[in-house]
């Protein structure tokens, strides 16, 4: 058995998910440099770390806006009405399509599948906060508040 395998500490590899979160927080997204640093610190092959970054959907390997607006298009949000109309409304208001970022770098618009807000749908997640029972009026307020932080 090669020495590096013998001395391998399994608990160290368990830190990988957390390490990627920290790197993403520091770099904004998982840049090649960030992935390299995580691999170096944990003594893991670069390919293993990149493979993790690409497997889990909360890790980003491309730059995103300051606020990532994720509109749930899951079945329960759709049945409650508004999942599609909220998305359309946000597309109009931000003048971008899902998957794109506004020119000022403030907002990225995305669709997601289920946020476990089925009883309080439709739902939108913005970074680490959840907004439930959403309406277009509430979207207006939300955008105004978020823009207000960056005047």
């Amino acid at each position: 058995m090669p020495p590096d395998v013998q001395s391998f500490d399994p608990a160290k590899r368990s830190m990988l998910l957390t390490a990627l979160y920290i790197a993403q927080e520091q770099y904004g997204y998982l840049t090649p440099d960030a992935v390299q640093r995580v691999a170096g610190r944990l003594g893991l092959p670069l390919t293993d770390v990149y493979s993790m970054a690409s497997f889990y959907s909360l890790y980003r390997t491309k730059p995103v806006g300051r606020y990532v607006l994720q509109v749930c298009e899951g079945l329960s949000c759709h049945l409650a009405g508004g999942a599609d109309s909220l998305l359309d409304y946000l597309r109009q208001q931000l003048d971008i399509e899902a998957g794109q970022t506004t020119q000022d770098g403030l907002f990225t618009l995305e669709t997601v599948q289920c946020l476990a807000s089925c009883g309080t749908s439709p739902a939108i997640r913005v970074n680490d906060s959840l907004y439930e029972n959403m309406t277009t009026e509430k979207v207006d307020e939300l955008l105004e508040t978020l823009r207000g932080y960056h005047v």
Binding site: P10, S14, Y59, S76, C114, A116, C118, T120
Partner: protein, 432 residues
């Protein structure tokens, strides 16, 4: 009138705190177990209670405990599955956000019973408030001496910590969860060996859903007989049902297993919204086959739903009214499954994508002759031929949709549009 067990503290102010939990009878089962019961006795009590897993599979909890090796020198682990992701399900999130200490008490008792000294909470990455609630609750439990070395002066020690997932539905499957905890891609492992023999870092591991664990303190406090008296003989105890879709009152309702689907929808959820008729119900989360309005008297229990050709799953009910397009429903659910396929095996990775292509085309008015039989062929080709149960889960909405509403699929292909007179979106526009 059924008296809530798991959700009894939900309405109290600051229900998530250790003080409120203790003031309402919390952490009383733990000293009883540590002082009066052997691990074997605890396991026997849980077996006698008839408790079955609440994460979807419904495996008897006590039997799962009894599979763990008895040798004291073998390191064992307990994993708390908070990776709730099945569309329609939001009960675990509520439990963690509103009463995390009853889960912690359940984890400590389960760990004592199986001889584990280390436990891990694996929580869905999106549950930011849940992560915060878990961390605070664990800190407070340590401060009171319920966690750590020599718990309440006993010989038993247990450490518990939180690991945050990063967005992968498949990590709710127990072996994928273990892979993810080990810092790997969440790809399910081959079974057997089961985690009870070879689990986290190759050691015996017990993985339980949070709702399963939340039942444990109550079983200890009030006895296995009391617990087994709730529900049906084969599905005992209370269950947190989540109801969403087009009903008047959406939300979680704690009721005894065996309650009829009709009672949940008509009484607890207040009936269908907008005076529309019920068309179909998903009884246990996105991966469970649908039932129709004619099957509303089916009791919500493991065995009765199985007899009706579906599953209790997570107890997540999605009610759809007469204006709902069933092809659209299948398309939306398939978007989810195609996105969440871990990619390890071909039938699931490629098959779900091919099925989604067809569903998008048919729903988009571009369906071609042969599309529906092709869809069915793909679904049958995936079913039973994937590495983990996700393949079966992914095709279930389509297969049950084709069984119950095939004419709608055919209509879409023939007329390039939906037969449902009102689209669900149009219906929803009238919602307050």
């Amino acid at each position: 009138m059924f008296e809530p067990v798991l959700t009894r503290n939900f309405g109290l102010p600051r229900s998530e705190t250790i003080d409120v939990y203790i003031a309402n009878g919390g952490y009383q089962a733990l000293p009883k177990v540590l002082r009066e019961c052997s691990p074997q006795q605890v396991t026997e009590t849980v077996i006698a209670s008839g408790l079955r897993g609440r994460g979807g599979a419904g495996f008897p909890a006590g039997r799962k405990w009894s599979f763990m090796p008895k040798e004291p020198e073998v390191q064992k682990y307990v994993c708390v599955n908070t990776d709730e992701g099945e569309p329609g399900t939001f009960k675990d999130r509520e439990l963690v956000e509103k009463d995390p200490h009853q889960i912690i008490e359940g984890v400590i008792i389960a760990s004592y019973a199986v001889g584990a000294t280390r436990a891990f909470v694996y929580i869905r990455g999106e549950f930011f408030l849940g992560v915060k609630r878990w961390i605070k609750a664990i800190d407070d439990a340590y401060a009171k001496g319920f966690l750590g070395k020599n718990i309440l002066g006993s010989e038993f020690s247990l450490d518990l910590s939180v690991h945050r997932g990063a967005g992968a539905y498949i990590c709710g499957e127990e072996t994928a969860l273990i892979e993810s905890l080990e810092g790997k891609r969440g790809e399910p492992r081959k079974k057997p060996p089961y985690p009870a023999n070879v689990g986290l870092w190759g050691k015996p591991t017990l993985v339980h859903n949070v709702e399963t664990l939340a039942n444990i303190p109550h079983i200890i406090n009030r006895g296995a007989q009391w617990y087994a008296g709730i529900g049906t003989p084969k599905s005992t105890g209370p269950k947190i049902f989540c109801i969403s879709g087009q009903v008047r009152n959406r939300g979680v309702f704690e009721l005894p297993l065996g309650v009829s689907l009709r009672e949940i929808i008509e009484e607890h959820a207040g009936g269908m919204a907008f005076d529309k008729k019920l068309k179909a119900v998903i009884p246990g989360g996105a991966s469970t086959p649908m039932l129709t309005a004619e099957q509303l008297d089916t009791p919500m229990a493991f065995e009765t739903l199985e007899a009706a050709g579906t599953m209790l799953g997570t107890g997540a009910i999605i009610a759809m009214n007469e204006g709902t397009c069933m092809v659209d429903v299948a398309r939306r659910l398939m978007r989810f499954f195609a996105h969440e396929s871990c990619g390890r095996c071909v039938p699931c990775r490629v098959g779900t994508q091919r099925m989604l292509d067809i569903l998008e085309r048919v729903e988009g008015g571009k369906g071609r002759a042969g599309d529906i039989s092709r869809l069915e062929e793909l679904a049958n080709g995936i079913r039973g031929r994937t590495f983990c149960p996700m393949g079966d889960a992914a095709v279930s909405p389509v297969l049950s949709g084709l069984k119950l509403f095939r004419d709608e699929y055919d209509y879409h292909v023939k007329h390039k549009r939906c037969a449902a007179t009102v689209s669900p979106t149009a219906t929803a526009a009238t919602q307050p």
